[in-house]
């Protein structure tokens, strides 16, 4: 009996101490960690738009996130877009509800600031105030509209799809005509040396400059990557004067309509990424067109 008490007390105390230590560390670090994660995503977006250390982003570059929710009201489902709108000088969020057929249903103001909208719990709170039970909603995905001055510059789309072993998460940049501007692999656990090569420039840059019509029927071909194309894709290895402007333009046009050359020994990973990107772009183009139509017909003062 004495032993039981001793063991229980000792274990409870150790657990409490460990809990306090971990809890304290968490409270101290939580804010910095979240900030880092957002910063990481933002840096990737800016890099995809072609800005970096040598070429800093202009000050009038704005990133406006749009969040998509699926709303269920009894048996019927709707799509809810949280869109940033301009109300006077201030920016706020509106909820635009669309039917599954793409018809406008309703529009409601949300009590949430653009800064708070980054956090999922804050978004849910604001939505809950507008969508009263029995309506339910689940988060689907988000897109970010990049705007330079008052022109739409690009769409930035986070995407996730199954790879060879686990999920691959990516970030895609599309221009307003849905041509791919760039692809970045955010997280992946493919085999190093094989599927892991999807992170290499010679693979991910193959997607750059592909137009929507091409992406719709994009395939993976098991052919060796042409030498000049490989050199052209590996921009990080470029030396000064290696390509003239004309040459770059020539190669770009030559391979604009080519399919994706598979990585040697990693056909499955190459196919997963290609099909994943294809899915993300196709679905997005469809949704963005419908949303834009509604925004135009309802005169919603969107910020993008």
């Amino acid at each position: 009996m004495k032993n039981i008490v001793h063991i229980t007390v000792a274990l409870v105390i150790s657990c409490l101490v460990a809990g306090v230590v971990m809890g304290l560390t968490f409270t101290v670090t939580a804010k910095a960690k979240k900030h880092n994660e957002h910063q990481n995503v933002k840096d990737t977006m800016i890099a995809l738009l072609g800005y970096g250390k040598a070429n800093p982003a202009p000050s009038d570059l704005q990133l406006h996130p749009v969040y998509r929710y699926i709303i269920a009201d009894g048996q019927t489902q709707y799509l809810g877009y949280m869109v940033p709108v301009r109300k006077g000088a201030e920016e706020a969020y509106d909820l635009v509800v669309l039917s599954l057929q793409g018809k406008f249903v309703e529009e409601q103001g949300l009590a949430i600031s653009p800064e708070a909208a980054i956090e999922p719990p804050d978004r849910e709170k604001a939505l809950r105030a507008v969508l009263k039970p029995p309506k339910t909603f689940v988060y689907a995905d988000q897109m970010v509209v990049a705007k330079l001055g008052d022109k739409r510059l690009a769409y930035l789309l986070p995407g996730e799809f199954p790879g060879f072993k686990t999920f691959i998460s990516v970030m895609l940049a599309l221009d307003p005509s849905f041509r791919i501007l760039g692809l970045e692999i955010m997280e992946s656990e493919e085999d190093p040396g094989l599927g892991g090569e999807i992170k290499q420039e010679y693979f991910k840059h193959q997607f750059t400059d592909k137009k929507l019509e091409k992406v719709r029927k994009l395939k993976v071909v098991k052919e060796p990557l042409p030498d000049e194309y490989k050199k052209y894709l590996e921009t990080r290895k470029w030396k000064k004067g290696m390509f003239s402007k004309e040459q770059i333009e020539n190669i770009r046009q030559k391979y604009e309509d080519s399919d994706i050359y598979a990585i040697t020994g990693a056909t499955i990973s190459s196919r997963s990424v290609t099909n994943g990107v294809k899915g993300v772009v196709k679905k997005f183009a469809y949704r963005a067109n419908r949303l834009d139509k509604v925004i135009a017909s309802q005169h919603i003062p969107v910020a993008f």
């Binding site: 032993n3 001793h6 063991i7 000792a10 274990l11 150790s14 657990c15 460990a18 230590v21 971990m22 560390t25 968490f26 101290v28 670090t29 939580a30 804010k31 910095a32 960690k33 880092n36 910063q39 990481n40 656990e189 085999d191 190093p192 040396g193 094989l194 020994g265």
Partner: protein, 205 residues
């Protein structure tokens, strides 16, 4: 086993060479085989293990007189898990660049055999300073082993070192795959044993 009579330097050298966790004790083979595909991966995991090993060894050594002998293992696991969580959080918050590369490895450390084993065999019977040096030695030994494995496998498997192209081609792609990890570990172990025999023979003769 009674308290150790070894000096601090000896403990350090033991951890790195004569009692190397991977090549001599054959512990924590799972990460050794799975993660040592490149020098950088090995280095990062090695550093993370070094931190956790030293912190856990010291903690257990401090509270060793209060641990009920029947519940040693839960206490060890709790201590290791606590330090792993703390390091994971701190890295994520203040070293985002390192965390981006190390993040997935740090969480794995909770289940490493080498750390639990050092706590059981050494830290719970020795003074704090000795445990500290034992932790440092074992951590460095693990780091050394991971980097050596990573070196061989990255060079042979991918023809690169630290991501820089060295050979310009890939001699044996097979070495980048997990199964080849066993082969490299085996060859290294053989080499260590051979070096040990030669060394002893030289000392005698």
């Amino acid at each position: 086993m009674a308290a150790t009579t070894k000096t601090n330097t000896q403990l350090l050298i033991d951890g790195i060479l004569t009692e190397n966790p991977i090549f001599r004790l054959a512990l924590s083979m799972c990460p050794a085989v799975g993660i040592s595909t490149t020098v950088m991966n090995g280095l990062l995991l090695g550093i993370a293990v070094l931190f956790v090993q030293v912190a856990s060894s010291c903690t257990i050594s401090i509270i060793k007189n209060h641990i009920h002998p029947r519940i040693r293992i839960p206490t060890y696991t709790l201590t290791i898990a606590m330090w792993v969580t703390v390091i994971d959080l701190v890295l994520g918050a203040y070293f985002p660049v390192a965390y981006k590369a190390m993040g997935i490895f740090v969480k794995l450390i909770v289940a490493f055999a080498i750390i639990t084993m050092r706590l059981e065999v050494f830290a719970c019977k020795n003074a704090v300073s000795k445990s500290f040096w034992d932790g440092v030695g074992m951590g460095l030994g693990f780091l050394f082993a991971m980097v050596t494995l990573g070196f061989v496998r990255e060079l042979l498997g991918m023809g690169t070192l630290l991501g820089h192209d060295i050979l310009g081609f890939r001699p044996l792609l097979y070495f980048a795959l997990p199964a080849a990890g066993f082969i490299v570990v085996g060859l290294m172990m053989g080499f260590f044993n051979y070096a040990d025999i030669v060394y002893n023979r030289m000392k005698k003769g």
